[in-house]
Symmetry: C3
């Protein structure tokens, strides 16, 4: 059995101006004063479940085994959507059952899914609009103290899952999409290093809009300042960047913009 590590991460779309995230930490520290709490992001665009799921997925493998990830991007708060606790081989996840946790907890890693219904571990009264404070935070804190996951509700067998757009393949071309745009304006696609195996790093072409980039480089600094680079990023995904600039701005690219890889 996996034991909680004492580390809790928080991922929300709450922003940082209103004190909502600080309040969640207060609730947790009141239950377990020795928790280590780490902010993943609170700038998930409001209600953007996919964006939150991608950030969570990118982060989990870098945390100690037994880390509890509390994620709240929750447009359905207070409705019939379930609140769940997911236990995988390496981590715990608490959040709404709307797909947010699904990329970080792929089917083959899931050990147990609990429908959080035991109100004894919630703040009382439970609000209809702030389960981050009243439900997920106290459950995570009690979990960190060693309360076993099945105590928080009934074990269920499925959870909502998100599916990413698939890369389309022909003999000579891949068609991918911009999956996310980072703080620097780098365009992260859904094309993986493995997808690129049939292509030559030096000879392939990456196309986005009217622009064609020849070959992959290893790092931003391999091209001139202001020039365009295609590279495999630190998560193993094809990324289009502008050195010391914003590729998103340069190309007017958005989430979903197609990116093509071809042999010539």
């Amino acid at each position: 059995m996996l034991s909680p590590s004492g580390v809790v991460t928080l991922l929300t779309d709450f922003g940082t101006q209103d004190g909502f995230v600080g309040i969640m930490k207060g609730v947790m520290l009141a239950i377990n004063p020795s928790l280590h709490m780490v902010d993943l992001s609170h700038e998930v665009p409001p209600q953007d479940i996919l964006r939150g799921a991608l950030i969570l997925q990118s982060a989990v493998s870098f945390f100690p085994p037994g880390t509890i990830h509390v994620a709240v991007v929750d447009p359905g708060v207070g409705s019939q959507r379930r609140a769940i606790l997911v236990e995988t081989q390496n981590a715990f996840f608490a959040g709404p059952d709307n797909g947010l946790l699904s990329l970080a907890a792929p089917v083959e890693t899931v050990r147990r899914i609990v429908n959080l219904t035991n109100t004894q571990y919630f703040l009382s009264p439970l609000s209809h609009t702030f389960h981050g404070r009243d439900l997920f935070s106290p459950v995570a804190a009690h979990l960190s103290l060693g309360v076993s996951s099945e105590t928080f509700g009934s074990v269920v067998t499925t959870m909502e899952r998100l599916f990413l757009p698939q890369v389309e393949r022909t003999e000579t071309q891949l068609t991918g999409r911009v999956l996310t745009i980072d703080h620097f304006g780098n365009l992260v696609t859904n094309i993986t290093e493995a997808d690129l195996l049939p292509f030559s790093r030096e000879k392939l072409w990456v196309s986005i809009g009217p622009v064609r980039i020849h070959g992959l480089v290893f790092t931003y600094a391999s091209v001139q300042v202001g020039a365009t680079a295609a590279l495999i990023n630190s998560w193993g995904m094809l990324e289009v960047a502008v050195r010391n600039g914003s590729a998103a701005q340069r190309f007017g690219a958005q989430l979903g913009t197609p990116v093509y890889v071809s042999k010539e």
Copy 2:
């Protein structure tokens, strides 16, 4: 007597770009390396004492007893405004005596107010412009180590207080105001759940600008995406929201915009 819990919260209008908040934490950790520090908000609009006071008020009840709240929205820094430490039944507050602490520390809860004049606990030299670093942080850290509050200066009997706009009542109508606008653009009013007791949840009308909303719902997801909802939020206040959208933008509402509740 209340003992400090080892948890310190920070609320400022300093933003997070310049390192000011990190420096305050450095000062505190140099005095008490085992503190738990939680950010409430550093995005209080510059010099907006009321906004800071409201955030602090919304948060304090969720922290462990004995939490020390350091709040610095301080347009009068270096002037004759007093620096104070307030001890209530449940918490400690350190900040400028300009009303910032007053909503979180209502009169009936206050046990002691100390005018912070004992320079022995300040950084030296004391700057004229950054008491967050030089005065409030070291006082809070020494307090957390068990230095009793009256050691930091002389006990005084009053502090500056803010007064919120009152809800106006007639037999059939309430007139409230938008008190704050959160990260999602939800409009939080000064009308409380108690104010609404004479009204029927299902039959009342909430009016803002030209828009009338019929009845209260329990949660955002009770209405269609893009539709308007009136509800009691997680602090027991009447709130006007747009599902998965921004009510502030939709209504062009600002702080102080009137909101009416009527029986029909």
Copy 3:
């Protein structure tokens, strides 16, 4: 020999939306679960090494001796630029060798510079684009556990250094520059309190663009709301401010804008 204090600060240009900083903390907590981590700033403008160096310089003296400062503004990541660990009288610094660490670690304080080449302490595989995660974080965490600095690579004798614009002097006038603009829009110059010793506080004139300010005040509140103030800020630098407003906006000032001090 200086011992690590268990406090780590983080300074980056990563922003806070993508989870990059949280991931660095996860890497460190997986190695040393008892670290205290403090964010200095993650809003350094992308690739702005000077701005990062100034923030770091302003902060280091307020942290406990032995604090480990991890700073990553790293446009040359993955290129031939060195990754270094710098040990001074009071602190440790890990970051790229591009000048970022140089203002906080002046020559006379440096005890040792290590070229970080021992891959045994890096995450594996080492990415080409995210050394904050794969190199600087694990090195800092191992350092905090007592691994001595020369274990991480070979000792070198020099590091890249930034040089600030110098103040120009005549008998009757100083010419300085806006060095940084803070969150409030205050203009921080490169003119120090010492530079001003030949001038009378009450009689000097500070000029920026077409505006002349007579004398220095001690604090923002010494002038009327909306009025201009010149003062020595909490780091001992000449600063131009607008009370409860933004001097940057008022004067259309930018980094490098000249500021003059004259006797009359």
